[in-house]
């Protein structure tokens, strides 16, 4: 189990970032130790972070300052102009469990359906959804997680 986990997540001393001579090696937690305990995934950190949160496997703090208002929104947005690909369903819930409204609105996304000229090229450049997806949230190879609604299931 430990060996298997060690093979899936690269040790800090050997990750091309940490200096193997750094006194931090051996003190900092190893990725395999923490991530092997969480719901698995096939990309990114190999952890399904949304599931980990929903199932209570992790309970990350929502705020540090007691006066901070923690905002959650539970509406879905359908993005239908997706060419031949299935329609994109954007779940506000899964996103606001992690992020505040102001992280996306209005700096990256205007809060009006149809007002954001999003396309995959821009996302691949790190704009719009690509600000996080492909960097810290699940990567852009996971097409069907966003393009999840077949066109014929959409009510006219």
């Amino acid at each position: 189990m430990v060996l298997e986990a060690a093979g899936r997540w690269r040790p800090l001393a050997n990750d091309n970032l940490h200096d193997p001579e750094s006194p931090a090696i051996g003190v900092l937690q190893e990725p395999a130790e923490a991530l092997s305990q969480l719901p698995p995934d096939t990309s990114g950190n190999l952890v399904n972070w949304v599931k980990a949160l929903e199932e209570g496997k992790i309970n990350p703090r929502t705020n540090i300052r007691p006066e901070t208002k923690v905002r959650i929104r539970d509406t879905d947005v359908l993005m239908t102009e997706t060419g031949e690909m299935p329609v994109v369903r954007f779940p506000h819930k899964a996103h606001t469990m992690w992020l505040d409204c102001s992280n996306c609105h209005e700096q990256y996304f205007i809060s009006k359906v149809g007002a954001n000229p999003i396309n995959m090229l821009k996302i691949l450049e790190g704009k719009y959804c690509g600000r996080c997806h492909g960097a810290v949230a699940f990567p852009l190879t996971e097409c069907k997680r966003c393009h999840s609604v077949p066109r014929n299931k959409i009510k006219p």
């Binding site: 200096d19 992790i58 996302i123 810290v136």
Partner: protein, 134 residues
Amino acid sequence: MARFLSQLKSMHRVSRLLLWVCALMTMLPLHAEYGDVVLNRRAEKEGMPPVIYPHWFHRIRFRCKVCHFELGFEMRAGSNDVTMQDIIDGKFCGMCHNDEVAWGVENCDLCHSGRPGMKSHIYGGHQTAGPGIW
């Protein structure tokens, strides 16, 4: 004809070797952990190794909104001009790295643990190596 056949054979051998290399590369994680950030806007100029910020470690304990909303970290590697004085004053990392929530600033080596010469960037990729603008 015989020469052509032996050439074909050696080409076959090379392509098989290449296939093995590709297979090995997909099996082994060759990168840092997904979402790892190197911060080196000031560190090396001021004589310290670059900082490595692991998103995976922090998101187990804090939601994104804590740092990117409450603490005001812009969501782009290298775009936050953070000084040690800011941190000592309780801003940015110093909101938690104060010996109360997490270890304090006297533990220099734990954050300043990167190999020399790395640029501020988001590293680590599993299938994608991060978006173009980084």
